[in-house]
Symmetry: C2
Subunit: 330 residues, 2 copies
């Protein structure tokens, strides 16, 4: 195993090299794990069977340009970045496709492309805690081969050929985790639990349920499988993020009344994939609506998130819209 | 509003009467709320438009027998009890139907029957925190009428005519909340978070996702709408229960290695609807399997819960079975 840091990871790489200790994971590296600077990527990739990309969503194009010249035919790339992009016409694009676009034409079709979704906090995986995930690739054989390569007694990996549904689910859950965090922020703003101990779990749960309903609707609208909302990459990943993850914490700050900029400053150093995903959805929703894939009143929670994150509206959740039975056939 | 206590609620009724204070909700009662002993039920019901039943699932038949003689044609009964029953042939029965069965034949068809589902911790509702719920009745008009009666600016009530799916969802979420609690118990058993802070949120989230997947499958198997697993009565209610509710706490004790009896003792005074629901499912699953509604390998999490709760097996979750893509069309 060889770790390659970006230009932002100098300290981490230095610690891995000098002390064999990963400061973010707060854990000693197993013997045999080597660390490289991005300038040494060619050296690091030499003979590698699989390349795992863990850059954030803003770095995906850079990554493709950076690693492209060093890839060899037959290598596989696993993208664990969670995010989405809006194409020039407002169409939704998944990040493995964005990454592939940046690879040199001569190599693009000669490497395998896969992704991983599901609830998997890195620190818990490093601690060898039990985790269940899903490996996805349009090449189902590749997904199976990679899952078999990484599967252990504590790391349970299933596979799917539905890369679109996998990627849309894991990106959307970040956006929707904002709303569950907002409930915690609104509680804080209301002065916290009252004298009888009443919090705002009902509100958080209503947002959580609406998030699942809307994830299913969005999956359907973009041609994916709505059942993913109910599985590991949807509700599972949403649940784990709501246990204090970055997106949940950003939502909490917004619920407390901070502006998006203030919240960003307070979380300095953290990648805010949730806000990025909401911004993308702000571009994508009008296009989905124009082509009739969603109605003008659909997705009230996502529209509220776009209002807060893109337009700076105060946090006001349209709760009366969340109290509904599932759509027939939904 | 008139509260009627059962024979187990003597202290609560006394407090409500003497101090106008509800000791469980830890809150003063609004003026005009009166409290009655069960022996005064006829007096309490006089002129009442709606009767709300909040007994636990073990008390539903008793309740029907007790209130039956005092009901008047045109009254509506709302059952907020969450549970299920196995009929003599192992068929699944929802509690509003069990309650109706105990009513005198002359009144049974002349009262309305409805239920409420969705994430609604009573103490938060009493604090007028925002909550979203679903009113269900086979008589859709009744559901609408009742929701309109109770709806407020903080209590958002939608309606459904699909009483079966509503009731199955809210009962199953208690059973499945056990599994999410078990993850917390297993963490405690492993000595808690390790030196780097790694917990077992990945495991809890994998159980949560598998719970949603299995709720959808069970809804389909009993002729309900699988979409309810993704809505307020399914995933929403499951989420709120996992914030430290009774079923979650029972699961945590089981995960810590306590036997079911020990866990029951530790939670003395709490109604263990989760264990009751798992016991019912232990009777229902073989029947669903015999008629081909589920396969012998389906529902691995519920089967594991039956093993622990009914057969006293140690907590061992078949995680390799949880790492899968959604079933096509699931």
């Amino acid at each position: 195993v060889r770790l390659v840091g970006t230009h932002l990871d100098g300290e981490i790489v230095a610690s891995c090299r000098q002390r064999h200790y990963h400061p973010r994971l707060r854990r000693a590296l197993p013997p045999g794990v080597l660390a490289y600077d991005v300038g040494e990527v060619g050296l690091a990739f030499r003979g590698a069977e699989v390349v795992v990309s863990g850059v954030n969503s803003f770095g995906v194009r850079w990554l493709g340009q950076t690693i492209g010249p060093h890839l060899r035919p037959g290598q596989a790339i696993i993208a664990v970045t969670k995010g989405l992009e809006a194409g020039p016409g407002g169409e939704l694009r998944i990040l493995p496709d964005v990454l592939a676009e940046e690879l040199p034409a001569g190599i693009r079709d000669r490497v395998g492309l896969a992704a991983i979704g599901g609830p998997c906090i890195a620190g818990e995986l490093a601690a060898r805690r039990p985790s269940c995930v899903l490996y996805g690739s349009r090449d189902r054989y590749l997904a199976e081969r990679l899952a078999a390569l990484f599967r252990t007694g504590y790391y349970h990996a299933g596979t799917t050929g539905d890369l679109l549904s996998l990627e849309v689910s894991v990106a959307l859950k970040n956006a929707y985790a904002l709303s569950v965090g907002m409930a915690a922020g609104l509680l804080g703003r209301a002065g916290g639990p009252d004298e009888a101990g009443a919090g705002m779990h009902n509100l958080a749960a209503a947002c959580f349920a609406q998030a699942c309903t809307e994830m299913a609707a969005l999956l359907r609208a973009v041609g994916g499988d709505p059942a993913y909302a109910c599985g590991l990459p949807g509700v599972g990943d949403l649940y784990v993020t709501c246990q204090g993850g970055r997106s949940w914490r950003l939502g909490r700050l917004l619920g407390l009344g901070r502006s998006c900029d203030e919240a960003r400053s307070a979380l300095a150093g953290e990648t805010l994939e949730a806000a990025a995903c909401v911004q993308v959805m702000g571009q994508v929703l009008p296009v989905l609506e124009a082509c009739g894939a969603i109605g003008p009143a659909d997705l009230p929670l996502m529209r509220a998130l776009v209002g807060v994150v893109v337009h700076g509206h105060p946090v006001e959740l349209p709760l009366e819209r969340f109290a509904h039975a599932p759509e027939p056939g939904g």
